[in-house]
């Protein structure tokens, strides 16, 4: 977590005891207090005094989807620029102050948001808030820093994509599955576009999207809400408000004809397959069922795809996937998303065999449903994993800020266990039949460069 990155960033995750839930699933709730300043900045606080630490997350409601055309990769490059200093705190100060306070920091760019996170002993909270407010006001728009980070980002793409086998499946799937440029372009960026980015772009992006009304500040840990609200007022209150930038509706209908591509990967030694289905919108009636269905299908060693294809037919070497995988989880997306899976397959397999076996598994759920016992234990595992995602102050601050930014309600985070509880067998059948269809499917078959014997 030392390095600002675009790729998946996960953390393990204390909550307050709440009302009793169903047997065997303890119900836990985070204490949540929310306040919006006159300039539009929303602050979410969750207190827990078990250890003298604090987590901070600032979520801006802009991601790869809203970067300018002809500037692929710009939202991420901009995220890097947020660490390159300001007119008041030149490059180096940010890291020096946070590290000197015993803290860690990072940032990541996603389709619909960009987040900036810090975790530190609570003694460092005030300087951290000062630094976050400072970079919301203005950046040091210097050509040297831009050039430096253009190089660093290109190295990031080399190490994560160009020098890796199947380094690009999470870029390849959206590129093939979606029709709108905002959804299907390369969010890591072409080197040509990255090189063409200039300071005007940086300035314009900051001016449009890095405004108090487009940001949520989450703070969790050894703090009292009233004290935090006063500090935030002190450091952010005087930043001028601007209207919240408009959010275009970028949803797409389900696909009506299967999309299938073969890619030959020069670096790979073992073939692989990536499959994605377009999925329901966040907060729709099909959202929670889709999340439970994804868990039931590929959530671990007791999931149907693992038991059927890694064990059972032994076609796959491994099976990883999920709703909004791999750049996020089931609850932190807003625009279009996919249920994706990625697997290396074995010498006895080919993509057709894998797809036929997947279809069989999906058809079984869509037509016969699942037993109440299987649904119950799947829900238990999901609730346990949801709690794990809130174990430490940093992940609470980040999850709360994302819930406020994406759902419009931080308090909604506490509702997620209830959404999971509410899913029925009929919901699973409906969602499997509606979304996990062949016409709505995108498949990329990765072959190794050496032809099969």
């Amino acid at each position: 977590m030392r390095f600002r990155s675009l790729t998946a960033f996960t953390l393990g995750a204390a909550l307050l005891a709440g009302p009793a839930g169903p047997a065997k699933r303890p119900a836990w709730r985070l204490p949540i207090e929310v306040k919006t300043l006159p300039n539009g900045l929303t602050v979410v606080v969750s207190e827990d005094h078990s250890l003298p630490t604090v987590g901070v997350s600032v979520v801006y409601r802009v991601g790869m989807r809203l970067e300018p055309k002809g500037r692929t990769g710009f939202a991420h490059l901009f995220e890097h620029m947020m660490f390159q200093g300001t007119p008041v705190a030149p490059k180096g100060v940010f890291d020096r102050v946070i590290q000197g306070g015993g803290g860690l920091n990072n940032g990541s760019t996603r389709y619909d948001y960009t987040n900036y996170i810090e975790s530190a002993p609570v003694s460092a909270l005030e300087p951290i808030l000062w630094l976050e407010a400072d970079r919301l006001k203005a950046l040091d728009f210097s050509p040297q820093n831009l050039k430096n980070q253009q190089e660093v980002v290109k190295e990031e793409i080399r190490v994560n994509v160009k020098n890796q086998p199947y380094g690009t499946f999470w870029l390849d799937l959206p590129a093939a599955a979606y029709t709108r440029w905002e959804n299907n372009h390369d969010g890591y960026g072409s080197f040509e576009d990255l090189d063409h980015a200039d300071l005007k772009d940086v300035q314009a992006f900051h001016g449009s999207y890095y405004t108090p009304s487009n940001a949520v500040l989450g703070i969790a840990g050894d703090v009292k809400p009233a004290e935090v609200f006063a500090l935030v007022e002190k450091y952010f209150g005087h930043i001028p408000g601007k209207p919240k930038p408009a959010l275009p509706d970028l949803k797409e209908p389900l696909n009506t004809a299967e999309i299938r591509l073969v890619k030959t990967d020069a670096l790979a030694r073992v073939p692989a397959v990536a499959v994605g289905w377009k999925m329901p919108a966040r907060g729709s009636k099909d959202h929670a069922p889709a999340a439970v269905l994804a868990e039931l299908l590929i959530g671990g060693d007791a999931s149907r795809i693992y038991l059927g294809l890694v064990k059972g037919k032994a076609l796959l070497l491994n099976a990883s996937g999920g709703l909004n995988f791999p750049l996020g989880g089931a609850w932190d997306y807003d625009g279009q998303t996919l249920f994706s899976l990625f697997s290396l397959y074995k010498p006895n397999a080919d993509a057709d065999k894998v797809l036929a076996a997947l279809d069989e598994i999906i058809a079984a759920v869509a037509t016969q449903g699942v037993t109440p016992a299987e649904l119950e234990r799947t829900k238990t595992k999901m609730v346990a994993d949801f709690y794990s995602g809130l174990e430490i102050p940093l992940s609470r601050a980040d999850s709360l800020a994302k819930a406020q930014a994406l759902w419009g309600s931080a308090a909604h985070l506490n509702e997620i266990p209830r959404l999971i509880e509410g899913v029925t067998v009929d919901d699973l059948k409906r969602v499997a039949a509606t979304y996990l269809t062949r016409p709505n499917r995108t498949v990329i078959d990765y072959h190794t460069a050496a032809a099969k014997p």
Binding site: W28, S50, P121
Partner: protein
């Protein structure tokens, strides 16, 4: 002195100027508020018991979050395997949750789901770790499952065959990863014939494995007097001890004592090794040497020195080759301490044409640690960073539990946890310089590069003769 060495010295002199200038850091903004007063870290109460059969039990009650984490560690890891079967312990560990005398792999997986749990095992060089977690309400079930896979795995024929096929295919897939290839070449180069050289099981060892050989290995290694069970989270000590005694109290000592490992080497040759990887667009660099065991008196000072040199985002190497030069995205460094030895390693993936330039800067920063004393501000910052990150990691139940189990394997007491930060804070600047001089001098490091053969070779030859590796 070779011409290469000369070129290196020359470049060091040149690059020292801007950095020396940069060392005088800009003053902090005048309005920046100061840090607040540090708050005390609550004491960690660890209950320690030893069952009559020798099993050590450490329990940490940490209420407030509805989960528990468990680690059972058994001494004897991949380094204790016969030279021609190395890695068999890790392979065996991977099969512990794939079937017991009374449960199939699927039954284990489904029972775990009912408690929101997970359970798996892996081997380090020194030990096998059986690791699990679940909702705190499921702790009785977790303890029973953990005891079952630890004591009664039966290595079913079908599961062993599947694991063999998947491991063989996984080994092939691994060969595509530059980081894997670099680590293997590095470990082989620095540890010579010591078993810490192990990186990955060989295909022929996988092929020769049978359910019987795994059962025999399990019976020989898994002994209660060679094991610790650590459980942390929302638990009650007395009730948990009762559950543990019921599940593991009648586990008997039957095998032979584990043969101790010989000390790992303390030094390795200064050499430049290139492992060609056709199609590489970067050079994957490893610069390092054999170093310290986890209990060596220099281990904690070395961790501090490493934080300054390359082990943190604000470290010298990251500032130099990333934030100043833009050569790389992900530079880093790590001091890894094991039971009878360890390693030190600086790593970076850099675009091929700056391979030599990057190495030059890494060498410069390594040598500077031994020649110039670290300033007070930088030293204090590194100490606070280490204190903060240690607190950060041990907020997480799984990390806390794993740290404690590893302490036990290394022969340390749980008190080592609360002694860590005070020991870091006691290190003086002069000690950091001694660590730099003793361990970081560039003339003592082994260099491994995975990358484009022709281009990377030309880059490396600026330093001395280059040996081309096969794997």
């Amino acid at each position: 002195m070779t011409p290469t060495r000369h070129a290196l010295t020359l470049l060091l002199t040149v690059s020292a100027l801007p950095l020396a200038a940069a060392a005088a850091e800009v003053p902090l903004p005048k309005d920046l508020p100061p840090y607040g007063a540090d708050r005390a870290i609550p004491a960690l109460n660890i209950t320690q018991r030893t069952l009559p059969n020798g099993l050590a039990v450490w329990l940490v009650n940490r209420p407030g979050f509805p989960k528990v984490s468990a680690y059972l560690a058994v001494r004897g890891g991949n380094a204790h395997d016969a030279a021609d079967r190395q890695g068999i312990t890790g392979f065996m560990a991977g099969l512990l949750n794939e079937g017991t005398a009374t449960r199939t792999s699927q039954q284990i997986a489904e029972e775990l789901q009912t408690i929101g749990g997970e359970l798996g095992a892996f081997a380090s060089a020194d030990a096998v770790f059986v690791q699990g977690s679940c909702l705190s309400t499921g702790l009785p079930t977790l303890i029973n499952l953990l005891a079952d896979v630890t004591r009664h795995p039966n290595f079913p024929e079908k599961e062993v065959e599947l694991a063999k096929a998947n491991t063989l295919q996984g080994l092939l897939a691994q060969e595509a990863q530059p980081a894997f290839k670099a680590n293997r070449a590095f470990n082989t180069a620095i540890f010579g014939d010591h078993p810490y050289r192990f990186t990955s099981i060989a295909p022929q060892v996988v092929k020769a494995t049978t359910p019987e050989s795994l059962r025999a290995l399990h019976a020989a290694r898994f002994q209660p007097n060679q094991a610790v069970l650590v459980i942390s989270g929302d638990l009650q000590e007395a009730a948990t001890l009762k559950l543990i005694t019921a599940a593991l109290g009648d586990w008997k000592v039957t095998g032979e004592a584990l043969k101790p490992l010989k000390e790992a080497p303390a030094t390795a040759a200064h050499q430049f090794l290139l492992l060609p990887r056709p199609g590489s667009v970067q050079s994957t660099l490893r610069v390092g040497r054999p170093a310290l065991s986890a209990t060596h008196p220099d281990y904690i000072p070395m961790q501090l020195a490493n934080t300054i040199l390359g082990g943190s985002f604000g470290s010298r190497i990251v500032k130099n080759i990333r934030e100043d030069k833009g050569y790389t995205y992900s530079p880093g460094a790590r001091a890894a301490g094991m039971q009878v030895g360890g390693s030190y390693q600086v790593r970076a993936d850099v675009r091929t044409e700056v391979t030599a330039a990057s190495l030059m800067e890494i060498f410069y920063e390594m040598d500077r640690m031994g020649t110039t004393p670290v300033g007070e501000a930088e030293l204090q910052s590194a100490k606070r960073y280490m204190g903060g990150t240690y607190l950060f990691q041990n907020q997480m139940l799984r990390a806390l539990t794993g740290t404690l189990a590893t302490y036990w394997v290394n022969g340390q007491k749980p008190e080592a946890l609360s002694e860590f930060i005070p020991k870091v804070n006691a290190v003086k600047a002069e000690e950091v310089r001694r660590i730099g001089r003793t361990y970081f001098a560039s003339k003592d490091q082994t260099v491994v590069v995975v990358g484009d053969e022709a281009k990377a070779k030309a880059e490396l030859e600026q330093f001395g003769p280059v040996q081309i590796l096969k794997n």
